[in-house]
Assembly symmetry: D2
Homo-oligomer: 295 residues x 4
Amino acid sequence: MAYVHGATGKGNDQCRFQLAAEALDPNVKIIAPWRLERFRERFPGRTAMIAYCKEKNIPVKASVAKPYSSDENCLHISYEAGNLEDPMVNGVATVEFGMTVSPQNAPDKIENVKIGFASGVPVSVDGKRLGAFEIVSLLNKIGGRNGVGQIDMVENRFVGMKSRGVYEAPGMTVLYAAHRVLEQLTMDRDLMHLRDRLSPEVAEMVYYGFWYHAKLDALMAFCREAQKPVTGEVSLDLYKGNVIVAGRKSPNSLYDEGIATMEGGGSYNQTDAEGFLRIEGLPGRVQAKVSPRKY
Amino acid sequence: MAYVHGATGKGNDQCRFQLAAEALDPNVKIIAPWRLERFRERFPGRTAMIAYCKEKNIPVKASVAKPYSSDENCLHISYEAGNLEDPMVNGVATVEFGMTVSPQNAPDKIENVKIGFASGVPVSVDGKRLGAFEIVSLLNKIGGRNGVGQIDMVENRFVGMKSRGVYEAPGMTVLYAAHRVLEQLTMDRDLMHLRDRLSPEVAEMVYYGFWYHAKLDALMAFCREAQKPVTGEVSLDLYKGNVIVAGRKSPNSLYDEGIATMEGGGSYNQTDAEGFLRIEGLPGRVQAKVSPRKY
Amino acid sequence: MAYVHGATGKGNDQCRFQLAAEALDPNVKIIAPWRLERFRERFPGRTAMIAYCKEKNIPVKASVAKPYSSDENCLHISYEAGNLEDPMVNGVATVEFGMTVSPQNAPDKIENVKIGFASGVPVSVDGKRLGAFEIVSLLNKIGGRNGVGQIDMVENRFVGMKSRGVYEAPGMTVLYAAHRVLEQLTMDRDLMHLRDRLSPEVAEMVYYGFWYHAKLDALMAFCREAQKPVTGEVSLDLYKGNVIVAGRKSPNSLYDEGIATMEGGGSYNQTDAEGFLRIEGLPGRVQAKVSPRKY
Amino acid sequence: MAYVHGATGKGNDQCRFQLAAEALDPNVKIIAPWRLERFRERFPGRTAMIAYCKEKNIPVKASVAKPYSSDENCLHISYEAGNLEDPMVNGVATVEFGMTVSPQNAPDKIENVKIGFASGVPVSVDGKRLGAFEIVSLLNKIGGRNGVGQIDMVENRFVGMKSRGVYEAPGMTVLYAAHRVLEQLTMDRDLMHLRDRLSPEVAEMVYYGFWYHAKLDALMAFCREAQKPVTGEVSLDLYKGNVIVAGRKSPNSLYDEGIATMEGGGSYNQTDAEGFLRIEGLPGRVQAKVSPRKY
């Protein structure tokens, strides 16, 4: 059995396809014509390939005229190559976006949206329980019409080169913001700081294509445990590209006015800060005696 | 000698004051009246203190009427307490901001600003060389009038409780975005991924008050080395709260059309991706043979 | 309800007792007499307290004569204070150990021991299935009579000061070595490298006393997932303080002669290394073109 | 210009050679015959190559008879392949070591050695100032005759497979122990914990061959800053494979009896531990109120 794909030999997709396929079936044969020299001799580039498709009446979306290429799925559309290869070119001004209007063309009026989470997973929009695909599709619409989620960046491919990409991901941008807001309310401080240091590793593994990999399995076990209390609802105001926090609540809130007041009058005693800081400062005081800092 | 400050015993400022002072002078005595029980007996809270100041004609900015408190420096203004203690209250709609207009009240027109960096440090605005304070002051104005940099968050104090804060930091928001854009162009991928994992540690040390500390010294040595190539200019479009990348350039760019083309025709050979992925996938293939994944 | 303990206010035990107790019952009152000024006025130190116990016929193990103090549990005995406070004093030559002979006094003959693990947990010694306590007790005996597990170190207490401790932990030293050997055989490389970076965080949390803590919960979820394949048996030769690997095997071995040979003749192709290294070296080559290194 | 080497296409050396060479000269051509299919057709393996050398009177150290191969430099000798490919084979019992005697054959008598460091760099042995190469050579002798530094491990090559190696590195084993002992005395706790988390990254970069790389430059800047206070002398007892701490001293010691006593009677106040632990336990108490743990 073989797995054949048409990804160029320069990008990330080939990595994700192959690493995932081989992790599931170590004997699968991968055939990627663009990585074969004799294929590239026959079709030196996009232009020759598009011409061939036209000649043979093979329908393809790509056109020679378009000044950049794009790739689309339910989470985002990416734009790269062509004009966009110049990092001085204004990316969002160049691209004809498919999911979003520009902030300038968005309505001059706040649109509020409420997103519910259960243990870190989005489960509702505006109080209506929906599946994952429905949620991201709906938020693509809502975010998109408010100019949310256009991104212009230089990224670092797994195959070693920097590349410039313009993206639109309205739904994911809204979800990312909402999720973070709810984490702030429900996740323990020291866990969150560690999570912040592990997030780039999760992102790297996923971006490179190591989805089926022992390291990612262990990282995901960490994430699932860390996300357990991240349940609640976040209210966001979308306005011309902005995602503004309008409110948040959770049954697991670790910031609770009730507790805060009770802590203020009871459990939290300002006198404790004396001892706390004397001990937190002890290593620094010893250090300062042994090797005084110049100041 | 003693160092006396009026910070409450509940916040972060007391930590920064004391840890910094003791690291510079391990024998300094810190007196923080709000942490002394007998002081709090005399002045149980803000109201009693404000009343006392009024009675004694001591001028203080705080007023009982204001529904929240604020703290200001050249980098930002913070707002907290009072009405803002309810995380369901809309923070940016509640606060009367001092440095920024709301996105709604910002001009309906893009304002472009160009920021120059030398080894990670901002050195110019719109081509004009300026000092650090001048840069942040100018960007506070430019960002502020375009509605940039309002933040509503729940944070985690060093003394252990979560607290809710609303901030405005227009200049720093613009600088943060510009800096990141330039790093993308000039910083090595693997270094950047490590930097992403160390940033939360730098932030934690600074936030907690460990500015004069051996760990921060070593982290800053890392940062200074990492920032060496981050030189160049970033062009940003500010529009009603949005910070949009308009362009970037650097003499140290690792994304260079010239190199890309040269690599394309020379150094980068798509055939190499075959071997690269066969070897990157080897551990996964062995894993899959030893313990096949169900799928 | 209150939790009263006799730990000094200078050590780590007070931290572990209190943080664990409060995490389980946030309303528990902790009473630690040595942290109360009026208690220390009555009993300024160990000498006064031992004298009082003698006078009142309260049996205590501590004696004024012993030139250091010790603490014992099934995992180890620790020795500190007294003569040991001088870091130039030879720790292992000073202490009269309770669980171990010195390497010099151990038999001049290898003793072999085989330890079995199931998903990272030790389950057998020399083929005999045993419980956790039995395993560590047995290995304390076996390791102890071979001079294994004496440690002299300067450590960093949670309350801020460095302290010098001498330890003996023969069973745990043997288990640690065996576990590591089995991990080498069964754990994925990239997961192991991440594990190496997270281990210090697990150790810190446990040492400080944050056993019942959201961050440790998430770290343990990571560990449990990572340990799943760590099943097998390790054969160790103990000889006068040395722990020598004599052999290891696992049904989940990722180093398998069969696979290696098959890979050699099949899946691993030396030609792949060409492409692999060309791509791994790409960022460095671009870097070298943009900013050549002096050499 | 080309760089030609005879490393097999399966190991780590080819990575180090090539990545270093290309980082210094991005245009250098690397020729590694064992990675070329037509070369391997002519010489399918070691046996054919050794036969050819014999026939042509080319002197080579390798012999077909030896049941494993070895590689030597001033830091270590490595042994692998052949009999050693079976992880159940006892590695140290199989290898005829070149630098070390076995613990069993070492003298039944402690040999003491004192190693001096300046900012983390070893500078003297037994009080005699020596250069780096002299130090490691001398310690190879001293460690070697006391049976120190034999290692048997399964490691993870950059090219993806696990491999089994037996090593001897007597000098480096002694230096590693001595350095760690001195760090314990002189390095700040929080810095050391971060160092522990960064060490695996330094090791990985060096092992893979990324010596000339922006990420390693930044890590080394971190290390140099962290090592500044690591100055002093460590006394070690070597005995039949054991490296035993006999004493340590440093002008930068953060564990100083003088300071400890002074802190005990002055700067360290046990009462402070009350406040310290109340605040360190605050997040856990809030957590326990919101989501009580079952126990």
